[in-house]
Symmetry: C2
Subunit: 585 residues, 2 copies
């Protein structure tokens, strides 16, 4: 009997992956934690686990391998804001009214009436945090605090929408404070502020804690951004380890920066990374930036491991849209999704060729998701909303059209099936700005294009192409879209399956067009301090939106420390006040 | 004390991967076994571990993950025969005299003077076996038995170089013996035999045991080929488990078959697989064929595991050349190596764009090679010869130029460095047939093209392009060859590194051209039964090379069973005898 006890004890010790026996805090299926990694402008082919030869992403690869690789994940849109609108709401982005990339001094944002994933999860008492790029409206009313997130640290839009600064990594450190001579130089430049708003000059780093908002830095230091993100993300997990949380991590990496327009940025490339990641990979500046993402993801996972949260946490990883290919070495790679038939190499971001919408993705959940597994079932970013809702036990909201489908079966079962019979891709076939319509559809193994055009930055080279019939590919057998089954001019005579599919597709397309309701964003009146020239995020208008950093050890240690009694007390704390709200946090 | 013993026993049981405790038979570093998987026309992007979305290669992926992924592996040539000449000899293929793809009734083969890997390993008493496609000469004198291999089962050339037959997988089985009506139909066809040799009609399956040779089937049954390969490979390992062996497995899959010319083949595609693999993958016929390769590899590995040979066996996996892209769905995929700048999608097989020469690859050696590791150090197929020689402890042959470099450091150490300062790629820029010369070179992160042209089957569309300067890419940052650093017309003014690299490349190119010695194949006089119209592999000329299969349980069980006293007794057993040498095995 004594030996049996010894045996059982040893068995427990030896079969656990750690020497320390870590027990799940809750039943793993009871409101699991959600960690959603969402990289910016990352292509399918950019990771180690998807075959890039010189990328260095060991942490991401390990998580992918130890989970289920999702090889057929479509973004909700091929550009930033609308992709995020679809992700956050589970709805086709034109329903939300977000039909374009939001600008830096825009008056629009994701309508407050839309229910976000964060708002869903708040219904069952999740703590919700977001770190990184929001890009669903930079006005205070549209920032994450008002969309269901308890905590936020990040840039409200893309990191090419203003200048960041950079700390030199060599011995001779450049001034970390640009207020003095360098800023004076800027003032002398003829470049006008956008819409007469100097907020467009410098990238802000914003922190929110419930409805208290603070501009931490402006311009933010790109070489130190990852450290701050990392601190926020790991501390958020530590501080919330005992209760269900949702950590949404939309990296501002690996979007390009404004490059030469960036007066503070001495980097030769339009990518950035901390000093310890610069010149670290064979892939150059893009590889360095991606390696930094990998480092942050590794730290998040290590934190989950140390706290024994692996079995209570489902991790999803994907990207917002395809790579921005005209950005030379600074853009990512769509890998196998080259869209050969296009005849142009610009089939990434803002195109509805596979390269623009087909994302690298995996799901990881120790104990629930089979390690080293793969599926090619069709998944959309819009599926995250209903899936998280299901797993958290929150009923779906009444009275709204959800386009996403619950993918829990696909993740948790060996042969889970996609619920997308027809997955429509809204896009920009007539050139970019807001001409949104159905550009393509996925139906079984088929992908049909109703129109094709190159991605952002390459529109002018090639006009949009509309054909008589849908341009049809079998993307399961031909993922590079090289050999059309229907070239758009003649129906495939000898392929009855394809002909029948085209008929079904045309019927579904007609139905979609007849029933789809485009959303309108209700105008939001100016808040305190807002108005023309004052919609942008600005720490201090008297200094043309340039201020010292508030990020110090004290600030850092106080994140998430505001007592709960104070929470939700102040609704519309305004960004534009000259004191950048030092009193609020 | 009793408890301690229990503990130690349990520890041993629980920490071994199998319940049975398996011990390495020899010191793992003492003449390890070599298993070399070499798939035909497989592209970089075709596997799960390199990112193909609908491929099903779980066994290959698992081996890759548990070993070191080699992301920068170049084939020795972009087409079959010369790629194999380079692999077998460690030399640039034009040195060997093999300058083209060998035909089915060719008089040429790899010169017997060349030292093959198998001949090297025989020097230290390895048992050597080859299963699959040889393609270095189909004449008896050139077959594997005469090139260092003890045992051989396979097709002497590509599986589109004659017709195979196929057994129907539906309930109503077609005749497995095509001699009767179907063959009569063939006789009525106007298609002439090649060089008046009917051997070109039907694919033969050849078996060799030392110098005893037998044609097992003609035409061979493509639906049963994998079962035979599998039997050979696993039995070879079992029979030779106690001593060092070299198993070279050059799959005849996933090369296309002759398709419509194949009168026995009722498959709609130019790919084949056993009944249990047909229609099994989402990727179609190519995916099914590849899944069958994966099955064979899984069986080989399982055999190694069961025999406790994992720690004594180094496994390499790669392909002979890039995918044959004009073959529609039946061709493979180069994945990220799309050669965008070419402007044509035919940058695979027979081109020296990355897609034609950049191979999927990994090395696996339990206990010696770090699992879940990756390297992008430049490796060539030519490196296999010196590497295996080193690991087996065989000195390199005197008096020959070896172009391959020992890659053991890269495999076994974390930061092993490539020894290829300049790796030249010989190719076919003036159209395919034997106009071989240096087409490109890899130097550090750079790849320089001296000329470019599309791959096999697409030459006529696009002429070869020669530029004033080398067309230069940084393939570490730009693996898709999209953004040239030097476009061939103007030297890069603002990139001193690239300019210096071009100068070094031009110097090395001049040196290579001045010193390179093209080999000539010494003519081999006709052997017994050979002569015009009689060089092909033919089981019986009186039946136009169509014979019953000899493969039955008895044949199968007798593989490798000829007593060693008989071995090497008869040197030139001839293939063409009408009895197909039933007496020899």
């Amino acid at each position: 009997m004594n030996q049996l006890k010894t045996f059982l004890l040893l068995l427990a010790v030896l079969t656990s992956t750690k020497t320390r026996v870590v027990k799940a805090l809750r039943d793993p299926l009871d409101r699991p934690n959600f960690v959603l990694f969402f990289v910016d402008d990352l292509g399918y082919g950019d990771l180690g686990f998807t075959g890039h030869p010189t990328t260095s992403t060991p942490n991401i690869d390990k998580l992918a391998w130890n989970g289920k690789t999702l090889t057929t994940w479509y973004s909700g849109c091929s550009v930033c804001s609308c992709s995020r609108a679809a992700l956050m709401t589970g709805r086709q982005y034109p329903r939300t009214g977000i039909r374009e990339v939001l600008g830096v001094v825009d008056t629009l944002g994701l309508p407050l009436e839309e229910v976000t994933i964060a708002e869903q999860l708040k219904k069952v008492n999740y703590t919700t945090g977001i770190v990184g790029k929001w890009h669903l409206g930079q006005r205070l009313a549209y920032l994450p605090s008002n969309q269901g997130f308890d905590y936020y640290l990040g840039i409200p839009y893309s990191d090419d929408m203003g200048n960041g600064k950079e700390t030199s990594c060599s011995g001779d450190r450049k001034s970390e404070d640009p207020q003095t001579e360098e800023q004076d130089k800027m003032k002398g430049k003829p470049r006008p502020p956008r819409d007469n708003d100097y907020a467009a000059w410098y990238l802000p780093l914003v922190y929110q804690e419930h409805n208290r908002t603070r501009i931490v830095e402006q311009p933010l230091d790109l070489t130190k951004l990852a450290q701050k993100y990392n601190h926020f993300a790991t501390k958020f997990i530590e501080d919330n380890k005992d209760d269900p949380f949702f950590l949404y991590f939309p990296f501002s990496h690996v979007h390009t920066t404004s490059g030469n327009n960036n007066k503070w940025n001495s980097m030769p490339n339009k990518q950035y990374a901390s000093c310890s990641f610069q010149n670290r990979t064979k892939r150059g500046a893009f590889g360095d930036a991606l390696a930094e993402v990998d480092w942050m993801i590794g730290n998040v996972y290590e934190t989950l491991q140390c706290l024994g949260l692996e079995e209570n946490t489902i991790i999803l990883f994907t990207s917002d849209n395809g790579p921005w290919t005209p950005q030379h070495y600074d853009g990512g790679s769509y890998g196998i999704f080259s869209g050969e038939y296009a005849g142009y190499p610009w089939t990434g971001k803002a195109s509805t060729w596979e390269g623009g919408i087909r994302m690298p993705a995996f799901a990881h959940w120790k104990g629930q998701i089979e390690p080293f597994s793969r599926t090619s079932q069709t998944i959309s970013s819009m599926d995250v909303f209903p899936t998280f809702s299901h797993l958290a036990g929150v009923p779906l909201p009444d009275g709204i059209v959800l386009d996403g489908r619950d993918m829990a079966d696909i993740l948790l079962q060996e042969n889970g099936q996609s619920k997308h019979d027809f997955l429509f891709f809204y896009g920009f076939c007539n050139g970019y700005w807001p001409r949104t319509g159905v550009a393509a559809v996925r139906h079984g193994p088929y992908k049909a294009h109703f129109c094709t055009s190159p991605g952002l930055g390459a529109y002018e080279r090639t006009p949009t192409k509309y054909d008589k019939y849908p341009l049809l590919f079998n993307v399961e057998e031909d993922p590079s879209e090289t050999f059309p089954i229907c070239d758009g001019n003649t129906l495939p005579e000898n392929d009855p399956d394809a002909r029948a599919a085209i008929e079904r597709i045309l019927r579904a397309y007609a139905m979609e067009k007849a029933t789809f309701e485009y959303g309108k964003i209700p105008p939001l009146p100016p808040g305190p301090g807002e108005g023309k020239g004052h919609y942008g995020v600005c720490c201090n208008r008297s200094t043309n939106c340039s201020c010292e950093s508030l990020w110090d050890d004290n600030f850092q240690s106080r994140l998430f420390n505001v007592g709960s009694a104070e929470h939700h007390a102040r609704y519309h704390e305004h960004l534009g006040e000259e004191n950048h709200m030092k009193d609020t946090v």
